[in-house]
Each structure stands twice: as structure tokens, then as C-alpha cells.
């Protein structure tokens, strides 16, 4: 049957359009119940539909078998509960699903995943197309009311339909809604309806679920109780008008790490002035949470303040907030004042589930507790739980539900217990969550786009490919590497020249543009390597098998082949899709051994030797061009094979072969970058490394000067040369230290779209153009580059998004973000394992060099572990030592002892576990001994028993 849906909508241009859509009603939509014989059989698909004998949790309200049918708001707010394995057999109406989709994309995605999960028995019923459950909007009925009615009609249909099934036990349908009016109406119509709370509380076997109920109460109720702390938020439509007319400014809210009463708002847009607005005081912050998009109103100029340097921690006691606020208002000179404003409304909340720990209420048997997030920028969250005792000392996840005007803290609910704090798995999970690394297993939908096993190369695949299986290709990688994405070959050809080939896994052959697999990889952006875990960007079947260029199997590759002279001058470059069969997968050490041992003279070894020779020439050329060789200590853990605890820590060793592989990868990247830029000047995805502003080098120049060395920093070449010259016979480690310092002066390399930028230079590598081509298994940028190159050589077809520079720019933005986050997560993982190491090792003394000198501390580097740490000279509850800082040299004089940059010292290392949520490595100076009252050597034992120091150190992030 055909009917039509008519609705009015406003177009962007402001016109009102009447839209009419055809709407087909059917009679053959199955109800999804397994026992139902009246409906046509369900079409095959993911998810298994509803069980004939629902075996979900037993409810005291409804002891018989039953299906649940939630309404939209319930689904939106209580998705955490619905995802629990206990909740099964839920009917999700199309009406509900559509409303959820319009209101929250993340929740929509989650519910879709749940529906796909065969264990959950969720069934999505297309009630809008079912002849008996479709209704039309009536006169005087808002579309919300209409949807509520549609849901009730569907519930009624279900309960009548299920009665018709001839079965011993009748299955009930329970309508779950938190809307009072809707529930009353449903009861009037003779339906079984409960609120979520009623139902969850009736699940007597699962009391823990109650904690995870989101506490959304009726808006009206709240205003009656308690005093109102915050001004009301202005409505969104008003805000938008205000932003348009310039009364309000829209920006991203960033809370301060140090001071909970202060935040900055980064105003969107290109306006020169008022880029950064300071917000101070609880009322002005007005319930904004870190990363929210907010609207701010500027205060009058005489109310402007300067950023305060006070460190304030929200300690949870309801003491006089105003008094604290007053401490912020220190008198400062006029030119320190910054634009100051107040938050008038929230444009978009950016709440995510937060990791942290429970601060148990002091009241016995209390059910309301405060939750302290691990991220200091997030306010504490009030949650209700009955299992505070078990949750104490555990890392938990909490989601914010709302922040009423009369509440000092936002209300939230418990989502998940990650495990006890300090535990390895728990901490890994925490650091992944906190760095926003997507690490859930790949969904069924994503996996469905994988090639079917057993996989083999077909005729079709060979069409645009060259057969290079006869070549003597081999790969060189770190030990234990399973995602081999590059392989090399080298041979002499008839005309006496040398042919060198770099073969890269052809990932873009398996990941087709636009499908779920592609979207998921694009979202992940990069594979994240943690100390003992790898978070794959593409599913394992691809990363470790089909794409991995393992030895002695046929693999698809994308090859870049050069013809070179014996002096490594490139004569010809060509790109082709190919099939290769690697002859050997070697580790760096194995390859090095083959090159070095005179007795081995097989094909692989000779080509490795030749490659190595060419690489040295290439490297020399590159360095002559001004490429930088920088140093940053990389740490490697030796893990205990049983407990997986780190038993030793050492810096990574670099061999000739590392540099050999690297050299050819660089060459391939540069060749590809040039090719795709020539072909697509507007849409090439490239990577650039901007030259740092000269002031960045101040620290390096000063440091070198203190050792009577001169640093030239006007160009990369000059810098490279001065670094090479900076040798001190009595201090061999100085050169490495200088290189570490130089690394810190650099800018971040970023991906960009060639059509959106005009500075392409890569400073560090000293090449005019660069991109990433060689690691498509672990970087999404490379996949895009592969696609561009494939189109350029006519081996693949293009698609619209590939030649849309705005879409490409968006991809770059995400990739840069993911890349940065992956780095942070990696560092956090190293830091955590370092802590574990020192926890097991106990207190030790080690040699160290001073890397930076700060006003009240020195940063030291321990070469043995590649570990960096800060030695503070100020302690809480202790008399402050006399500190004298000289920024020129730079040096710091502590109680008469002067410490210079690059001084060799000895430090005492121990783990400070006093604050379980923020464990850290603590370093204390042992040599030279400091004069004065507090000798640090004895201090160490005291610290561990003392309370967490108030002064928070910034995390050791490079």
C-alpha cells in the first residue's frame, strides 16, 4: 500500500519547502520473535532476532518471559545499561532509531552495533513501514507527540500479536519510558509500562546495574530544591543570533590543568583580537566542561583579569568558594590583563566517558559519591552507587548525564569498572581511553569487508599488475614484526646499471574507498604501538597476513622501481602494481650479520651488500643537502616472559641496516610525492615539516655557548654542520645531548593537502617535497597516497572524495590529531612501564646529565635508561631552599651549589605511589650534595609516607 508523508522544511536559503515523499506500507514485516509462526520468516542478516524463550535477567515486576521496548529518550540516556550483557531481547523501533540518529550520532552507532550483536537478541522493527503500526500525524499533534503515539501503537500491536502465537507461555512486551505522560497514556491503553528505574531495580539478580542508570530527572523538579549556583544557559537559537551579531563569541572551552577556577576559550574564526578569552570564577565558567563548544560574552574592560599563576585544586569540600575566587584577583599591571569573559551558553557538549577513581564519601553507607577524573581539567562528577566499597581503588569510567543549575558538580553515572589501579591491563586501557585511541575490536560490519579466506590471487587481480615473483626480494624489519609493509630488491641489469625496487604492501587493494572498513581505518588513522601491545589500524587478517610481505608467499605489492648508476644517481623511476614473493624476512641484526660475514655470498646477501653501499651514498648526498641527524633516546624494555613485567630497560641500538632500509624508504617517499604532486597539484596528500622560528633555538645556542661551542641555526645545513663539529674530547656524550636539545627545538611535521597550502618544504629531511607511502598497513595517509598514485598510473579508478581538497584536508586534520595522540599514548605507555620497572627495582642511584635548567628544578637525562626526569628543589611543608636562577648561562644555584646545563650529576630514582591515580618517578639529587637543612638523600624515605604534594608537576612530555 502506498501513502505519502508530507512535511515542511526550511532550506538553508531560508525558503520554506513542502516535501512529499512516497511511503510504502507492507504487511510482510516480521515481528522478529523466533516462536512466531504468523509472520513471514526473517530475512537473513546479522543479529539473531528475539529469542523464543527470552532468558534475560529475571525481573520481580514481570516474572514471565518478556521483551523490552524502550522509547527514544530512554535509549539515548540509558545506552550504557542497554549495552550490558544482561539486557537481552529488546525491540528497537524504527521510529526510535531514527530519532536517536538525528539526536546523537555516537549513541546511534552504539545501538547499531548492539543490534548486530547476535548474543544480545536486539531486533529492530520497521514499524513505520508496517501497515498496522504506521500512523499519520494528527491535527494539533507535534511531531514528538506523534512519535510517542507511534511507539505506543507499536507496543500495542506487539502485545496483541504475541498473544496470537500458540505457545504454552505467553510472552509479554514491556514498554520502557521515563516520560511520565507517555507512561500514563500507555497504562490507559492497557499496556505494560515501567520507567527504566523501576525495571532495572526489579532485576534482583543484578543489583549493580542500578548504579549505571543515568540520573536524568525531570527538569521541573530540580529548581525547587537547593540554591541556584549558576546562571541559566541561553537557548541555542538565541545564541546563534548573538554570535551572528557579534554579541557572543563562539569558541572551544579549555579548562586549566592547574587551576579549577580558570579556563580559556579559543575563539573560532580568524579574528585577530580576542583570540583567547580568559574565564575566571565558578559562575563565569557556568558549567562548561573541557572541550565543550561554548558561547562567551566579553566582560567590560575594567573587569578584565590576568591569568593567575596560582595552583588551585578542587578538594571537594564545600568551603567558601568566593574566598578562593578572591585569591585569584591579585593586583597586576595593566598590560598583563587579557580579554575576560563569561560563558553564557553551551553550543555543543563534548562529553565523553571519563576515566578516574572514586572518592568515597565520608558518610557511612552513603550512596552519593564524588568521582575524580584522571584528567585534571574535568570537574569532579557526582555519582550514585551502592558498591562504593568494591569500587574504591579501582579505575572506573563515568559518564556525565547533566549539570543542573543548583548543583556544584555535574551528575553522572557509573559505566564500567576497568580494574584495580596500577594493574597493567587497567592502566593500558586508561591510557588508550585518555588519549582517545579507538581500540575496540573491529565491528562485524567492518570485518564483513575483509576478503574471504582462503584467499588467492585471481586473474582479475593480475590485470594491471606486473609479475615480479622471480625477483630476489627480501624484507628487513625489527625482531617480532608481523606487519611487514616494505621489502627491497636490487639487481644489475643488462646495460650495467642497477635496478633497485621498493615494494610496499598493496593495502589499498583490500581497503576499497567508502566502505565500513575504509571508514574505520580512516578514523583510527594509525596503528598505535604500546610497550607490549599493538592497536591495529586494519584488522589482523590484513595487517599480519594478507598485506604483510612475508617470505615465500605470493603477495600483492605496489612497487617503486628505479634504475640507478653505480653512484646511486637515479636515471629512471617507475611505479607499478605488482605481485612479489619475498625470499627472506630478516631482522636488522640478521641482515647486518649477512652483510658482515665474508663467507656468505648468496643472492640475498649480495643484493643486501649492494643496497647497503647505495644507501650510504644516498645518505651522504642527503646530509650534504642539509638533512638533520637528530637524536632522541628511545627506550626498549626487556619483558619477563612469564609476568610480562619489564625486567630491564635499555636504549634502542641502531645498526647500519636500519639506516639502509630508512634511506630507500625516504627515496621512495620523495619519488612518490613528486609523482602525485605532478599529477594532482591540487589534491596530493603530502607531509611537511616547517622550519622552526629562530627563537626556538635560543636554548640550544645558549647551552652550546656554555661549553664554548658555536651553533649556527640560520639553515638546516648550517645547523647540521655545527652539530657535527660540536665535539668535546673530554665529554663524548655532549654531542648526543646537543642533538637531543636540537630535537626539542623542532616543529611538528604534519600532513596537508597540496591544494590548501603552498609551503611544502620538509626541514628535517631537507627535501622540497615529501609524503608517506611506505607504511600503508599502519598509517592511513599512505593508503590515500597509494590511491592517488594508482590513479596517476592508471592502475585503479578514482572516486569523488579523492579529488575533493576539503575532504582531503579533513582527513589530514584527523590524521595529524591521531598521530599526535598515538605519540602521547606511546610515551604514556613508556612512562608507565618505566614506573613498573622502578617499582620492581626499588630505589636506585644513577648517573645523569642536566638537560634543562628551570626556575625551581632541573630536568635530567639518565643515558642508561634514556629516561628523563625532573628534580625539584621545593617541597611542600618544608622551608624553601634559597634558589638563584640565571637565565643567561643557564644555571641554578641551590643553597650555594651551582648547577649548569650538561653537568653530570647522580640522582636517586624511586617510584612515588602516594597518589595512586598519578604515580610518578621521583628523582632526588644525590651528587653534588646540596648544603642546607634538607639533605635529599634522607628525604626520600619521608616522601613515601607523606601525603601527595600539592604542587603538581607537569607530566614529562617532550
Amino acid at each position: 500500500m502506498l501513502t505519502s508523508r508530507t512535511f515542511l522544511k526550511r532550506t538553508r536559503a531560508g525558503a520554506v519547502v513542502k516535501v512529499v515523499r512516497e511511503h510504502y506500507l507492507r504487511e510482510d514485516i516480521p515481528c522478529g520473535a523466533a516462536a512466531c509462526s504468523l509472520c513471514p520468516p526473517r530475512p537473513p542478516g546479522p543479529g539473531l532476532g528475539l529469542q523464543a524463550q527470552p532468558n534475560g535477567a529475571s525481573s520481580s515486576l514481570c516474572p514471565g518471559p518478556h521483551y523490552l521496548l524502550p522509547d527514544t529518550n530512554l535509549l539515548l540516556h540509558q545506552i550504557d545499561i542497554l549495552e550490558d550483557p544482561v539486557i537481552k531481547n529488546v525491540i528497537v523501533l524504527q521510529t526510535v532509531l531514527q530519532e536517536v540518529r538525528n539526536r546523537s550520532a555516537p549513541v546511534y552507532k552504539r545501538i547499531r552495533d548492539v543490534i548486530q550483536n547476535p548474543e544480545k537478541h536486539f531486533y529492530s522493527f520497521t514499524n513505520e513501514h508496517h501497515r498496522e503500526t504506521y500512523i499519520q500525524q494528527e491535527q494539533g499533534e507535534s511531531s514528538n507527540d506523534r512519535n510517542d503515539r507511534a511507539i505506543r501503537v507499536a507496543v500495542k500491536w506487539y502485545s496483541e500479536h504475541l498473544k496470537k502465537i500458540e505457545d504454552k507461555e505467553k510472552i509479554q512486551v514491556i514498554f520502557l519510558t521515563n516520560d511520565r505522560i507517555n507512561k500514563e497514556k500507555a497504562l490507559e491503553e492497557g499496556l505494560t509500562a515501567y520507567t527504566c528505574e523501576e525495571y532495572i531495580k526489579s532485576l534482583t539478580a543484578n543489583p549493580d546495574l542500578v548504579d549505571r542508570l543515568a540520573c536524568v530527572s525531570d527538569e521541573g523538579k530540580e529548581i525547587e530544591s537547593g540554591k541556584i549556583i549558576f546562571p541559566e544557559h541561553i537557548h541555542l537559537s538565541k545564541l546563534q543570533q548573538g554570535i551572528k551579531s557579534g554579541v557572543y563569541l563562539q569558541g572551544t572551552y579549555r579548562a586549566s590543568r592547574e587551576n579549577y577556577l580558570e579556563a580559556t576559550v579559543w575563539v573560532h574564526g580568524d579574528a585577530e583580537e580576542n583570540k583567547e578569552i580568559i574565564i575566571q570564577g565558578l559562575k563565569h565558567l557556568n558549567r562548561a566542561v573541557h572541550e565543550d563548544i561554548v558561547a562567551v560574552e566579553l566582560l567590560a574592560k575594567d573587569e578584565w583579569v590576568a591569568p593567575s599563576s596560582v595552583v588551585l585544586q578542587d578538594d571537594g569540600q564545600n568551603e567558601d568558594e568566593e574566598e578562593k575566587e578572591n585569591t585569584l584577583k591579585t593586583s597586576v599591571s595593566k598590560d598583563m590583563l587579557r580579554p575576560t569573559g563569561k560563558v553564557v551558553g553551551i553550543i555543543k557538549r563534548n562529553w565523553r566517558p571519563f576515566c578516574g577513581m572514586l572518592s568515597k564519601s565520608e558518610v557511612k553507607e552513603a550512596r552519593r559519591h564524588l568521582f575524580t577524573p584522571a584528567d585534571r581539567r574535568i570537574p569532579r562528577i557526582r555519582i550514585e552507587t551502592r558498591q562504593a566499597d568494591t569500587l574504591e581503588g579501582q579505575r572506573i569510567i563515568v559518564a556525565i548525564d547533566g549539570w543542573p543549575r543548583n548543583s556544584r558538580y555535574p551528575n553522572g553515572h557509573f559505566v564500567k569498572n576497568l580494574g584495580s589501579a596500577g594493574d597493567k591491563e587497567t592502566e593500558t586501557e586508561v591510557l588508550l581511553l585518555e588519549h582517545d585511541v579507538p581500540h575496540q575490536p573491529f565491528s562485524q560490519n567492518v570485518l564483513s569487508f575483509l576478503p574471504k579466506m582462503p584467499w588467492s590471487i585471481t586473474e582479475e587481480d593480475m590485470k594491471y599488475r606486473e609479475d615480479l615473483r622471480h625477483l630476489c626480494v627480501c624484507s628487513v624489519d625489527p625482531p617480532g614484526c608481523t606487519d611487514i609493509d616494505d621489502a627491497l630488491h636490487c639487481r644489475e641489469i643488462e646495460n650495467g646499471n642497477i635496478e633497485v625496487g621498493v615494494h610496499i604492501a598493496d593495502v589499498s587493494h583490500f581497503i576499497r574507498p567508502g566502505n565500513a572498513l575504509d571508514e574505520e581505518s580512516a578514523k583510527r588513522g594509525t596503528t598505535v604501538y604500546l610497550c607490549e601491545k599493538r592497536i591495529d589500524m586494519v584488522p589482523e587478517l590484513l595487517s599480519s597476513n594478507l598485506c604483510s610481505l612475508r617470505s615465500n608467499v605470493d603477495r600483492l605489492a605496489f612497487s617503486c622501481i628505479w634504475e640507478m648508476t653505480h653512484k646511486a644517481e637515479i636515471l629512471k623511476t617507475r611505479f607499478t602494481k605488482s605481485v612479489i614473493k619475498s625470499k627472506a624476512s630478516l631482522t636488522y641484526a640478521e641482515a647486518q650479520m649477512r652483510i658482515d660475514s665474508a663467507t656468505m655470498n648468496d643472492d640475498i646477501t649480495t643484493s643486501l651488500r649492494e643496497l647497503n653501499r647505495l644507501a650510504k651514498i644516498l645518505k651522504k648526498k642527503r646530509i650534504d643537502n642539509g638533512a638533520l641527524t637528530l637524536s632522541s633516546p628511545e627506550v626498549r624494555f626487556h619483558m619477563d616472559s612469564e609476568t610480562h613485567d619489564p625486567i630491564d630497560l635499555q636504549t634502542k641500538e641502531l645498526r647500519e641496516t636500519n639506516s639502509m632500509v630508512e634511506e630507500f624508504m625516504l627515496l621512495a617517499n620523495v619519488s612518490v610525492a613528486q609523482k602525485i604532486y605532478d599529477e594532482f597539484p591540487e589534491f596530493a596528500l603530502l607531509r611537511k615539516h616547517p622550519a622552526p622560528p629562530p627563537s626556538n633555538y635560543d636554548i640550544l645556542v645558549k647551552a652550546a655557548k656554555s661549553k664554548n661551542l658555536e651553533m649556527k641555526t640560520d639553515s638546516a645545513k648550517a645547523l647540521a654542520e655545527s652539530l657535527d663539529r660540536a665535539e668535546c674530547p673530554t665529554f663524548p656524550y655532549l654531542n648526543t645531548l646537543l642533538r637531543i636539545l636540537a630535537t626539542r627545538c623542532m616543529m611538528q611535521a604534519v600532513y596537508f593537502c597540496s591544494g590548501m597550502d603552498n609551503d611544502f618544504h620538509h626541514y628535517g629531511l631537507a627535501t622540497p617535497i615529501y609524503t608517506h607511502f611506505t607504511s600503508p598497513i599502519r598509517r592511513y595517509a599512505d593508503i590515500i597516497v597509494h590511491r592517488l598514485l594508482a590513479v596517476a598510473i592508471g592502475a585503479d579508478t578514482t572516486y569523488p572524495e579523492l579529488t575533493d581538497k576539503h575532504k582531503l584536508a579533513d582527513i589530514c586534520k584527523n590524521l595529524n590529531y591521531r598521530h599526535k595522540m598515538a605519540q602521547y599514548a606511546q610515551r604514556a605507555s613508556v612512562a608507565f612501564h618505566t614506573q613498573l620497572f622502578f617499582k620492581n627495582k626499588g630505589v636506585t642511584n644513577e648517573d645523569a646529565y642536566i638537560l634543562f635548567v628551570r626556575k625551581n628544578a632541573v630536568v635530567v637525562l639518565i643515558p642508561k635508561y634514556g629516561l628523563e626526569g625532573t628534580v625539584f628543589f621545593e617541597e611542600k611543608d618544608k622551608p624553601k631552599p634559597r634558589l638563584d636562577y640565571n637565565s643567561e648561562v643557564p644555571s641554578l644555584t641551590v643553597e650555594g651549589t651551582t648547577l649548569h646545563i650538561f653537568d653530570k650529576v647522580r640522582v636517586n630514582i624511586m617510584l612515588d605511589a602516594s597518589n595512586i591515580q598519578h604515580q610518578k618517578i621521583r628523582m632526588v639529587l644525590v651528587e653534588p650534595k646540596l648544603l642546607g637543612g634538607d639533605v635529599p638523600a634522607t628525604l626520600s624515605t619521608e616522601i613515601s609516607s607523606k601525603n601527595e604534594p600539592e604542587k603538581k608537576k607537569k607530566k614529562l612530555q617532550k
Partner: protein
Amino acid sequence: MAAVVLSEAEKVYIVHGIQEDLRVDGRGCEDYRSAEVETDVVSNTSGSARVKLGHTDILVGIKAEMGTPKLEKPDEGYLEFFVDCSANATPEFEGHGGEELGTEIASTLYRVFSCESNVDLKSLCINPREHCWVLYVDVLLLECGGNLFDAISIAVKAALFNTRIPKVRVLEDEEGSKEIELSDDPYDCIRLNVDNVPCIVTLSKIGYRHVVDATLQEEACCLASLLVSVTSKGALTSVRKVGKGSLDPESIFEMMETGKRVGKSLHIALQKILDEEESLGTSRQKVGFLG
């Protein structure tokens, strides 16, 4: 216009019949053929109507769009007419063939509706000088069976009666910037008052008498006809003479009187039908184009 070719004898037969107040199809001089009216036939318009008068078949669709008021009438909306002579109606309309007729009918409609009191144009104003509703009245000729003008005017009135304009509210903030908000309820809309919308009555002078609602054959016998537009109260809003023949003032006066009389009863009959249809509400079985 689509014309039929008649022999002299046939013409004489028609003229003589009319002389006796008896027309070929059995009607009297002031009788209309039976008309079929159905509204709301095109769902993606704001209002529509289809009228069949004998063999004449007309479809009118009205689309309400937001526009800016005309400079000389800042607080009023306005109507735009467009007449499409489909080649379905007659092969002569193929290509640009129907354009001339279309423009002629459209300009007649403009004249008929030029009178201030016909449609309450002020109700179409959203906010003066900035926004108003423009009603695009699109007329489609599906079949020509004589007396196009009358059939079109009936269809236009029925379509205007059927028109539902979405209700919008103008939100104004302190700074004076205006935002237009659309009502959430699709049933929340403005209806037009069509009490004063005129209908055209075409009076064709045949022999010594005049007839209303001439068929194609009768039109072929007619040398001059008078178009009068009459409101339901019997007020004349415009008069126009068509055809190459001439009319003496005496007969013009007579024809105008007939026009008023016939027009009034036409309005009554039309209104009755429209109200009846309206009272059926959504339960009405639509006939559409398949009936």
C-alpha cells in the same frame, strides 16, 4: 484556439436552436454543463484543484513561496499566474504553439484579480517590506472542450480555497535582526478567504441571443463574446470583449446582467461542492487522475 470546422448547415442548426433557447446538447441558454471539481489532487503543492467542464479539463496548482513584497505595496503579498497549454489538449499547442493563448489567459487572470478586494493580500504579508508569501498559480490545460476561461476561473477559485500556507512566526531580537520560524505542526496553516474571489462568465453572442458555457461547436458560430468576472455577491470586477465581431451597447448591458445572475448561482453551486468535500476531511477517497 482549438477550433472545430463546421459546415454552414451545422452552424445554421446551432444558431436556430439557440434562437429557440434549445442548444444542441439540450441545455437552455443560461445553463452550464455539469462540472466535476476535485481539490487537493497534487500533493506537493500548497493547494490544487482539477475541474472538468464537459470536455474541458483544467488542473490548477498553487505553490506558496516566500518572497519580498513589491515596492509599491510593501505590506501585501501577491499572486503570479502562469498558464501552460499542454500539447495533450490539442496538437496545435505543440512546441511554442500554446504560448500565445497561455499569455492571453494569464493576462486575463491578472486583470480579473487586480481588484483589491478579491483576495486579502494583506494576510499574505509576513513582515512588511521584507517577507511575504507569493502564490504561484500554475494553470495546466489538459483538454480543450470550449469555455476555457470559465473553467479556469472555477479551478483557480477551488485551488485557492484548498491552499494551505504554512504558518511562520517572525522572531525579532533586541538588535532588530529577524528570524523566521516555521511551525512544527503541518496542520497549523493559514487558509485564504475566497468569498470575494471572482469567477469568469463568458457570454457568447450567437445570432440574436447569448449563451453561457459555449461548447467548441457553439464557439465556432460565435463572432463576439463578453467575459465578465463576477464575485459571489454579484459584483462585476472586470469586463472584456473577445472575438472579431462587434456588440451594440444594448446587448452588452443585457449580457452583463445575465453574467451577474449566472455568476451568482455558479458561485453558490461551487461553494456548496467545496464545503461538502471539505467536510469529508482526510477520509475522502481521492479520485485523482485515474477516476
